[in-house]
């Protein structure tokens, strides 16, 4: 450990050499290398956390760059975990960086988590958040939670020294269409920067044993008013006694659904006329759409089903693939027995084709 490098932390009363040594010995796993994971990893690496693990299956995309500030333009298209390893190593060559180019799954979660002291939940979806919660309870690891919606963020530390867990706040996973994610809803680039840094701070407090850890308290940060509110909550009996993972953490209401991906849809579009319904808003549709798409915003769908050509196979598309699932749920209710096909990933995955049509 280089004293000169960490001099400003070593000089700090109540942190000192001991705090620095504890960081050096700590092993932190960050699940999700997106808007939240990037600032967490960046600061923990710079501050001298000895071992960092990163779990993420994605590649860098252009629309990540406005909030995932560790990625350069030249890194678009390469796996996020590789880009991160090269950036973090250049900043601090003494950190051991372990990368897992995979999603966290029921099959791998316990095996990965067991090697770390603390887990950071920096994911962007409910199934993984509930999986992390249950795996951390089973493995007896504290985990530092952060999540966003529009202009707001939440932070808490769960399963810390017998404290409450994520399920004590939100016992069961919301339905797939109940709560939108950032890709659908949008997010100001700076918000995950703030929430991720608040998570990194909690990681440091847990490791170094300084200050009051935000356990049993949910922080609610609002960017528009720049106010931070707090809600206290308690451990609910049984939530810290989970012994095995669920068989699946898919959304409970997941529909049995036919779907195509961007490449398949493109082949279909070039092969024959198809009935393709775009259920996004007027504004989204005007900005960019596929030439073949018929536009019926989700909110008008039940009133305008007469416009659908039910003789053809009906494909449904939205921005990210979530509202199109919702639309299909509605259509299946109206026309039981008829198949509707979801375009997975929506317009977000069509961007390479959209200009050519």
């Amino acid at each position: 450990m280089n004293e000169e490098r960490y001099l400003r932390q070593i000089t700090l009363d109540r942190f000192g050499n001991e705090g620095q040594q504890k960081l050096n010995e700590a092993k932190v796993l960050v699940v999700g290398a997106g808007g939240l994971g990037i600032p967490v990893l960046t600061y923990l690496n710079a501050m001298g956390v000895g071992t960092l693990g990163v779990v993420d299956a994605d590649v860098v995309s252009l629309s990540n760059l406005h909030r995932q500030v560790l990625f350069t333009e030249a890194m678009v298209g390469i796996p996020k975990v590789e880009a991160i390893k090269s950036q973090l190593s250049a900043q601090n060559s003494t950190t051991t960086i372990q990368i897992y180019q995979t999603y966290l799954t029921v099959a791998n979660a316990l095996d990965i988590i067991k090697n770390y002291d603390i887990v950071v939940d920096a994911t962007d979806n409910f199934p993984t958040r509930y999986l992390i919660n249950d795996a951390c309870v089973i493995a007896n690891k504290p985990f530092v939670y952060g999540a966003l919606h529009a202009f707001e963020g939440q932070v808490s530390v769960f399963n810390y020294k017998g404290g409450p867990t994520y399920r004590c706040l939100f016992p069961t996973m919301p339905a797939a269409d109940a709560v939108p994610n950032c890709n659908e809803n949008g997010v100001l680039g700076i918000l995950p920067g703030i929430i991720g840094n608040l998570q990194a701070l909690e990681v440091v407090k847990v490791i170094a044993g300084i200050g009051e850890v935000v356990s049993g308290v949910l922080l609610l940060f609002d960017t528009l008013s720049q106010r931070m509110q707090r809600m206290k909550f308690q451990l609910q009996p049984g939530n810290n006694e989970i012994k095995t993972l669920a068989t699946s953490y898919e959304f409970d209401c997941e529909l049995p659904l036919k779907s195509v991906d961007a490449v398949e849809l493109q082949q279909l579009l070039s092969a024959k006329p198809v009935e393709l319904i775009d259920v996004r808003t007027d504004k989204e549709f005007q900005r960019q759409h596929l030439k073949e798409a018929k536009h019926i915003p989700l909110g008008e769908l039940t009133d305008r089903v007469a416009e659908l050509n039910l003789e053809a196979t009906v494909y449904v598309i939205c921005q990210s693939g979530v509202r199109s699932k919702k639309a299909i749920g509605i259509l299946q209710g109206l026309f039981p027995g008829k198949d509707f096909v979801n375009v997975m990933g929506g317009m977000n995955n069509m961007k390479d084709y959209v200009d050519t049509y």
């Binding site: 999700g32 997106g34 808007g35 939240l36 994971g37 920096a122 994911t123 962007d124 979806n125 409910f126 958040r129 952060g146 999540a147 966003l148 919606h149 529009a150 707001e152 963020g153 939440q154 706040l169 939100f170 016992p171 069961t172 996973m173 919301p174 339905a175 269409d177 109940a178 709560v179 939108p180 994610n181 950032c182 809803n185 997010v187 995950p192 949910l218 609610l220 509110q229 707090r230 809600m231 206290k232 909550f233 308690q234």
Partner: protein, 79 residues
Amino acid sequence: MNVLFFGITKDIVGSSEISFSDDFKPINVAELKKQLISSYPEFLKLNSLAVAVNSEYADDSVPLNGNDEIAIIPPVSGG
């Protein structure tokens, strides 16, 4: 009685805060949830909804008083 809304509930209600006049004030958290569902059916989908009364998590049985500070906190998933 003022109720603050966070996350998707702010979008559902279309406002970050609503007031209940004393005549229509729910007597407890369960009653508040029922009133919200009847005014805004989308609340039905939020099976996990935390309610804070005076900055403490409150289960359905917690009674509500006129000057309580109430917050409706749904899960959020973005990252």
